[in-house]
């Protein structure tokens, strides 16, 4: 019953789900040997390099490691800002 109330109130903190979410992140970092800190500095440097060529919004950059089966993939989503072009037009 208490489980049911928890779920109604959106408080579903059942431990198996927590374990799975935590393991997803841990395994990505174990497999790539990339700590969250290293990923963060990779992101900063990437933004710096790209900014030298084109204008981007640093806050909109999204970089993550995704996986399909046991294959890892680094995915960077970098929206180009169109502010300048708009001004010129």
């Amino acid at each position: 019953m208490s489980n049911f109330i928890d779920r109604l109130l959106g408080r579903d903190q059942r431990s198996a789900r927590q374990a799975k979410e935590r393991m997803k992140l841990v395994l990505i970092h174990d497999r790539t040997d990339l700590t969250p800190g290293a990923l963060e500095s990779l992101k900063d440097e990437l933004i710096a390099v790209i900014s030298r060529y084109i204008e981007i919004d640093p806050n909109a950059v999204d970089i993550q490691v995704s996986h399909e089966g046991r294959e890892q993939r680094l995915i960077a989503d970098i929206p180009l800002s169109s502010a300048r072009r708009k001004k010129l037009g």
Binding site: R14, M23, D30, R31
Partner: protein, 266 residues
């Protein structure tokens, strides 16, 4: 005859490698194959006691490798299953007493006279693991539905792939269906999704494992237990049969009675 070498490994200790090796060996031998179980956990041997053969050891793995006895002399025949043999680990040496190429040579010789060579790997990812995986045709990874075992299994699966011994096949051991139902234990589906490997068996937690180990009689020799049935199914899958996975949610008669008496309990 060219036998297949199956290495049973896990990364983490205590997840049930030795129990799995003993039961798979007994199940394969009971179905008519000629089987050797080889304990590669030098210095921490246990396969002998789990199989109930501890009183019959004269020579061990290191004696064979170092030439103090012939291979035949180190093979202990199980009297209950005449097709089942054990090569025990040495107890007073360490993992560096043998090398991966020693294991490859030994298994090459064993393949000629046996259908299956099951190697019980030590925990860890160092020398002992490398010795155990070197001769493998098939790598089985045993894990439990808990975070530390899953994490270590992932690590060992990566190493198996790096050694080109993959794809590893997964045994999920000690599943507690009641806890899975309540959402308080990783389900087999969760574990498979995290590890992304092929499943070869799911074993429910079963008290009979403890009592059968106490007696030194592999559980597969007892027809009734659920865990024994699950191990027999893995043995059949190793033989190439397609065996549907057991429904772990199917409750025992006793479980249903308990729930009837104490609704909502457990």
């Amino acid at each position: 005859m060219t036998g297949k070498v199956v290495t049973v490994t896990s990364g983490k200790g205590g997840v049930g490698k030795t129990t799995a090796t003993a039961n798979l060996g007994a199940a394969l031998a009971a179905s008519g194959s000629k089987v050797v179980c080889l304990d590669a956990d030098i210095g921490l041997r246990n396969l002998d006691v789990v199989l109930g053969l501890e009183n019959r050891i004269v020579y061990d793995l290191v004696d064979v490798i170092e030439g103090r006895c012939r291979l035949r002399q180190a093979l202990i025949r199980d009297k209950r299953l005449p097709e089942l043999f054990l090569i025990p680990a040495a107890q007073t040496r360490d993992k560096s007493a043998i090398s991966p190429s020693d294991m490859v040579r030994l298994c090459h010789e064993l393949r000629e006279e046996h259908d299956w060579i099951l190697i019980d790997s030590p925990a860890g990812i160092e020398r002992g693991f490398r010795n155990a995986i070197a001769p493998a045709d098939i790598a089985l990874v045993v894990t439990n539905p808990e975070v530390s075992a899953v994490r270590d299994a992932d690590r060992i699966i990566g190493l198996i792939e790096a050694e080109e011994k993959g794809p590893a096949r997964l045994v999920i051991n000690r599943i507690r269906p009641n806890m899975v139902r309540r959402g308080e234990m990783l389900s087999p589906e969760d574990v498979l999704e995290l590890l992304a490997v092929e499943l070869i068996g799911m074993i429910p937690e079963d008290e009979n494992i403890i009592t059968s180990t106490n007696r030194g009689t592999p559980l597969v020799l007892d027809g009734k237990s659920r865990a024994g049935q699950a191990f027999r199914n893995i043995a059949r899958r190793l033989n190439g049969e397609v065996v549907p996975f057991m429904d772990l949610n199917e409750e025992s008669f006793f479980g249903r009675i308990t729930r009837f008496i104490r609704p909502g309990g457990k």
